[in-house]
Subunit: 190 residues, 2 copies
């Protein structure tokens, strides 16, 4: 057989597409091999089995997410930056549902690349929170809150957790603005 010129990155991209199309659970090495016109054992030249592939997808997802959100806050600051980041985050989760699954459905041990990517995401949030001049602890609390909100919205939406015919964007806007109002209050020491 001719060499197909596969590499790890190609595998990742294709795997993410498969996941987006039919869910992360449907991402099997068999399916991926078929998509790439290769026999499944060949994939082991580039990936250390299915667990490794899924772990790599998690890292890949995080990188894309950081890129997307970082891009969304360029030239913005304060509430505007936060709202823009949140919007970008949720749009990303919507547009890459299968990949986003890898963000939270994969059980990973420690993984250097993952820690790095996580740190980058945290740094982005830290910078966005700077203008608020909360203390260090309070800043971290607020970031946790924002991240939880975003992740919660993203996953509950994907799983049909929100039944009512109430527009999701409205909910996000309402919740974020409410939280920000509270945060401003904290700042002035109410």
């Amino acid at each position: 057989m001719a060499k197909m010129g596969l590499d790890r990155q190609t595998l990742l991209v294709s795997a993410a597409e498969l996941a987006d199309e039919s869910g992360l659970d449907s991402l099997t090495l068999a399916a991926l091999a078929q998509k790439l016109n290769v026999r499944s054992p060949s994939l082991y030249n580039h990936v250390n089995g299915l667990p490794d592939l899924r772990a790599a997808l998690t890292v890949y997802c995080l990188h894309l997410l950081v890129d997307t959100t970082r891009d969304a806050v360029i030239g913005k600051s304060g509430d505007e930056a936060i709202l823009s980041l949140c919007e970008a985050y949720l749009r990303f989760a919507e547009s890459r549902p299968g990949l986003y699954e890898a963000f939270y459905k994969v059980n990973m041990q420690q993984h250097e690349d993952l820690d790095t990517a996580k740190q980058e995401l945290l740094n982005l949030f830290l910078r966005i929170m700077e203008p608020y001049r909360l203390g260090e602890k309070e800043t971290l609390h607020a970031i946790r809150g924002l991240r939880s909100l975003l992740h919660g919205f993203a996953t509950l939406e994907q799983h049909g957790g929100f039944q009512m015919d109430l527009h999701l964007d409205e909910s996000v806007q309402y919740v974020l603005r409410t939280f920000l109002k509270g945060m401003h209050l904290n700042k002035s020491g109410a």
Copy 2:
């Protein structure tokens, strides 16, 4: 072979235990059968395959969650009730990690029991929000926010999303109180 006296409920309870012990992914029919001293095909007398078992776990989880949180708000109202409910929710997710996974990791089609259970959870939130006298839409927005926060906190915690050595409870308290402050502001029309 003697009849083992298995029934669907026994399967569910054991399956949830298995999931809590080693993660929802490790819940296989083979493992469950072994735990129950039965051959795996026997399980099909009570459950319609692995997807059905997982779906049933989702419903089971939701029921337990509703019971737990409902219990937590008895005799309380206003912010106190909300804080108590949230605390109970997060404690539940922590104490039943595998079962809680079924809450969000299972892709279900429509399922009557599930819709009922979801409605019960929503009703609980609706009643807890009554004293705030927000409008109907705003109430629903706020509930979505609370649910997202809780789910986000629960899952990010389980996946090691929070690295910093900052106590989680503090973050939850901070975020909830901040959100509630903002909500009170909304009420008075700021």
